[in-house]
Symmetry: C2
DNA sequence: CAATTTTCTGAACACCGTTTAGCATACGGC
DNA sequence: GCCGTATGCTAAACGGTGTTCAGAAAATTG
């Protein structure tokens, strides 16, 4: 009775096909070019068909965002590898920031969809929504990294989760400002931007380094 | 010949009326509710009339944004006053951050229009555009404050402008993440958010504090 | 092959930003 | 006061959007 299963598979294939089409349009033409009609044209179905697979555009975008977090995961992997396996937690923390910034630079439209969209978790349900669902992998990795840095005595702060949030906010903010062109006059190139990100992470990390590194006083 | 002047005044009044209507709609109903038609309805004119006073929606939004920066200026003024006149530059820096965050909390839709809109400075002309035009007051104030902190020996960094950008990015990022609901599970209340902002500014400020505060060694 | 279920779509709806042709009104010169 | 003109304004339309729904088309079943 493989016939029902084949139907199931085809259905699933079309569903993911829709998501991929949306992802590609966002990547290639930008968010503004992403309409139900443009997706429909690309997959060669009627716009109405999409609504048989997704409740509305919001839900479809949710899937695109999920895919975005997976793509970002690749960047994280790369930067961690680049940092080397002998990197200490603080260096890994920098690697995560670099990954985030680089992902944003190379996937601007994607980044916008993921973080700057009206979003509106439709106050109430906020579990199955946005980064809560797919992003936590990255968020948790960041928190764990900072926790390890604390354990290693590299960072001194009260709460790893708060520290992770701050670190995230720092890089996210710089990235968001850069991408939106709010500091274009100050950052003429992507290199300049990446450098500022490094400086920023240095500043923050420096602020977390214990003041007196256990210098036992000789009486 | 007061007649031409009266006409001029009426024209100007309608123009600012349009901007105020747009501002109010954004404040009251959110950005999504802001359409040329909704503005027209509020000012009791035809939608087409708006185009006699503004080139397009983008230009109109520019004026709204300008008004937004002025409103933010009020917050800055308040927080600086709250900090007191004897506050040192580092404390003033914190006050600026508080103002930014509080403004965002109390004018969410406004904040979004100002910083998270597609923006697109239409690469090329970027003078008369966005924060470059109206925001620089705030940006420059931040840069000056940090420069003063450097001069006072409170902060130790290479470039005040870069420092200002980093400080801005930090608060902006946290704010943007909070407003977009990306860290809702971690920040249940506005108070919790404001506290994280304080902690974040402390961390960054701490990272900028000179390591050894000129402790002349006695030989 | 006929009946039924499943999958899909054409057409419509209400909205959007924007343009244009034309309608009133208020003005300046006679 | 009247007339031509310049000004301010708008109704209607255009092409776009997300979304819905009756019904066509196709695939599966008996």
């Amino acid at each position: 009775m493989g016939i029902a299963e084949r139907r199931e598979r085809e259905k699933e294939a079309l569903r993911t096909g829709i998501v991929e089409a949306a992802r590609d349009i966002v990547s290639e033409k930008g968010l503004d070019a992403l309409s139900m009609r443009s997706i429909a044209e690309r997959i060669e179905y009627s716009p109405a068909t999409i609504y048989l697979y997704f409740k509305d555009k919001e839900e479809l975008l949710g899937e695109v965002i999920k895919a975005g977090f997976e793509r970002m995961g690749g960047y994280v992997h790369e930067e961690l590898a680049m940092a080397g396996s002998e990197a200490d937690p603080a260096q890994q923390h920098r690697a995560l920031g670099r990954a985030y910034a680089r992902f944003a630079l190379e996937n601007t439209a994607y980044f916008r969809v993921m973080f700057e969209l009206p979003n509106v978790p439709h106050v109430g349900r906020m579990e199955d929504c946005r980064s809560v669902d797919s992003g936590p992998a990255a968020k948790q990795l960041l928190a764990e990294t900072i926790q390890r840095a604390m354990d290693a005595g590299l960072y001194e702060l009260e709460d790893a989760a708060t520290g992770a949030l701050i670190a995230w906010g720092l890089v996210h903010g710089l990235t968001s400002l850069y991408i939106s062109g709010h500091c274009a006059m100050m950052l003429p190139s992507q290199e300049a931007f990446m450098e500022v990100v490094e400086t920023a992470m240095d500043s923050l990390g420096n602020g977390w380094v214990p003041r007196e590194t256990a210098k036992p006083p000789a009486p």
